[in-house]
Amino acid sequence: MISSAVYTVMFYGLSAAVILLAVLAVNLRQLLRAALALMGMLSLSAGLYVLLHAEFLAGVQVLVYIGGIVVLIVFAIMLTRSSELLEDHPRPLAQVLGALLSMFFLFVAALALRDTRFPVQVQTGPPVDDVRQIGLLLLDRGATGYLVPFELLSLLLLVAIIGGTVIARKVAPPKQPFTTGGDARGETITESARTQRDIVPGEGAP
């Protein structure tokens, strides 16, 4: 009784906070503040995962989203700085059209939700060990396992490393390969020429 009342309060409180922070994240002009709102929204989503008894995903959410993705977003904001670019001034027409379109989407999805009956039940009984289940599913080679998608994820991450590196890396100015190489070679050439010159008089002397 008490626990389901707490569940209700937590759900509605976290939902309200998450929605408020998401609205802030898409509306704040200052992008650093928007990134901060996004971070708060993602960490409260981790709270929602805990509420759904998906503790492992909550941990992954904090580790990957907040520890990695938001940090990258902040780095990108810092890299593309200059105060007038940091402010985002949406056009009023785009704002109205975007609001209308997203409200339309929300309306259609709400209608679909109202008219659909999902064959669901709340899981009862002893809680399953989620991390164990996830690990078994990820490494399962059978028809219901996710081994191939799991191995493909490593390929996706490899592509992300290479792509991100190639695109973001500053193209280094050429290290003047011709002058240094040419100098060195020229020196050896003059050296040999001098020796030749030394030799030639030596040979011409007798």
Binding site: I69, G135, L139, A160, T165
Partner: protein
Amino acid sequence: MEYIFVLAMVGLAAAMVGGGLFFSRLVAPHNPGGNKSVPYECGEQPIGQAWIQFNVGYYLFGLLFLVFDVEAALMYPWAVVFRSTGLPGLIEMLIFVLVLVIGLIYAWRKGVLEWV
């Protein structure tokens, strides 16, 4: 509700931080201006603006960190079931790690790991 203590801890922490801020605003003298509004840089005089252009090396290191962060998060469920999957699971995870090591070697050869 095994998280009731976590909840209590969150409430307590928020109350301590918020209460501290509230009482300091209530009690402390409020007299802004002058050198007080200068950013604190360990006693140094701040030079230039805060909005300097950051080095792209930060981004490249963050990129590599994020990818291997994800890898560590994916290794955790494997470590939990390591005893029951045994050698096949180890081989599968080794393939996964080796593919990412290729990316690390690529970044290394391209000089991403050197700070310029």
